[in-house]
């Protein structure tokens, strides 16, 4: 799991219900070779208040979602940040 310094071209935010779920998600991704970091996402992508997100590179979205689904850890939503704008991705 990479928390700091990872600069992804386009970041995808997989939002989690809580810090514990974010940590589980990041662990599951890490075990399967998908690098990620945990962040507090911006207000625009968390409609229920405080949350955590697992941030991955856009290129790993499909693989990450498959891994998380297999581990019964589906994110609340997946949001991509492109040119400073957020766009919700279908899960």
């Amino acid at each position: 799991m990479k928390r700091k310094g990872g600069i992804f071209v386009n970041s995808v935010y997989l939002t989690a219900r809580s810090i514990t779920y974010a940590q589980r998600m990041a662990r599951a991704l890490g075990k399967n070779g998908v690098e990620s970091r945990i962040e507090r996402p911006e207000r625009e992508i968390t409609d229920k208040g405080c949350a955590y997100a697992v941030v991955i590179s856009e290129g790993y979205v499909a693989e990450a979602l498959e891994i998380l689904s297999y581990n019964r850890l589906s994110p609340v939503k997946a949001v991509i940040k492109e040119d400073g704008e957020y766009r919700v991705l279908p899960i």
Binding site: R17, S18, R24
Partner: protein, 375 residues
């Protein structure tokens, strides 16, 4: 001081525990309250502890592990969270941390499953008799904090499974020396335990391990660092049952304590404790007027033993031992029900060991008791 009150709290801890506590104090702030380094360090420490508990106690995932202030806190969450109208059945060896929450939980009747100490068949039959169609839950300790009696928890779980009654287990005295796994106990919905006894964590730590899908009502609500715009407590675990600032240094120490137990092996620790308890039983029995409570079967007793003397009260024996700088516990050990079950209404002297107890300490204790009771 010779410390033989490890059933209250283990006094000596592994060196790694002290270091982990100090390190957490220096590097960690609060879990789930920010994305900055020290908050994430705290989150990592707590999550790592959660993973260890999850694996050790056979939960379905780390989110089913709830960190509490102590075993009493964990038992209150489980008992009050599951209680509803009907009766509940508890063993005759329960601590007040079970009895008192049960009596204020709103259940209509509390039944006691009894049986002579170190007679497992009797208590299994009693649970069988006491549980009926109106029983809403049962509670059983894994090991008596007074007598060290290891209750037949798998058989009691099986009775509960057949009768469709959820079981709460108090593993405060057994955790760290006797393996217990939620995954092997189909009727068990919660295992509650202290973190500061056989798991060698600091005081002020406890654990509640919950079965997935078991929705317990909350007894406290508050900040979780999640879904904060909602006025109701989250439905998901552990946030549903774990709110407010975590005891991060305590959990860090507990995590190190669990690692120590796993590296050493629960069976190895138990065998050492049993060897000392067997020695204590053997020698105390030689003293005139002393009654020692120990089982004929070594597998029925852990690292705790109680005794009484017809020459001197339990309190006086403990006070005289204290004068010799030997710490034992006297009285009721917060478990009057266990004394009622066994018939020791005047209380007992309790001796309890840990992995840090040494042979020479047991010898010194025995010499002192012989001197005191030989007066």
């Amino acid at each position: 001081m010779i410390y033989l009150d490890n059933a209250a709290t283990t006094f000596r801890k592994p060196e790694s525990v002290y270091k982990a506590v100090a390190n957490a104090f220096e590097t960690c702030t609060s879990v789930g309250r920010g994305g900055y380094g020290s908050a994430m360090s705290a989150a990592d420490v707590v999550y790592s502890a959660r993973e260890k508990v999850w694996k050790m106690f056979g939960a379905s995932g780390p989110e089913q592990v709830v960190f509490t202030c102590n075993a009493t806190h964990a038992l209150n969450i489980a008992i009050k969270g599951i209680a509803k109208e009907g009766n509940c059945v508890i063993s005759g060896y329960e601590h007040n941390s079970v009895v008192r929450p049960v009596f204020s939980s709103g259940v209509l009747e509390c039944r006691v499953a009894t049986g002579r100490v170190f007679c497992p068949d009797e208590i299994v039959k009693s649970f069988e008799r006491q549980i009926d169609g109106n029983t809403v839950f049962a509670v059983c300790t894994h090991m008596s904090n007074v007598f060290g009696y290891i209750l037949p928890i798998k058989r009691i779980d099986e009775v509960c499974r057949r009768k469709g009654v959820p079981l709460i287990i108090d593993a405060s005295q057994s955790a760290g020396s006797i393996s217990i796994k939620l995954s092997e106990l189909p009727s068990c919905v919660a295992v509650c335990m202290a973190g500061h006894k056989g798991l060698y964590g600091p005081q002020g730590t406890g654990i509640l391990v919950c079965r997935e899908g078991e929705r317990l009502a909350t007894i406290i609500e508050g900040g979780t660092g999640s879904v904060s715009r909602e006025f109701l407590q989250p439905e998901f675990m552990p946030d549903r049952l774990e709110c407010g600032t975590h005891n991060v240094p305590g959990i860090a120490g507990l995590s190190a304590g669990i690692s120590y137990v796993k590296e050493k092996g629960e069976g190895v620790i138990l065998r050492k404790e049993r060897r000392f308890i067997a020695e204590v039983c053997r020698e105390l029995r030689k003293i005139s007027g002393v009654r020692v409570f120990c089982g004929n079967d070594v597998f029925l007793q852990g690292g705790v033993v109680s005794f009484i003397s017809d020459r001197m009260s339990a309190e006086r024996i403990a006070n005289e031992l204290n004068d010799e700088k030997i710490a034992v516990r006297s009285g009721f050990h917060c478990s009057p029900l266990a004394h009622e079950t066994v018939g020791t209404q005047e209380g007992t002297v309790r001796v309890s060991v840990s992995d840090f107890t040494e042979e020479n300490e047991i010898n010194s204790f025995l010499e002192s008791v012989k001197k005191i009771l030989g007066k």
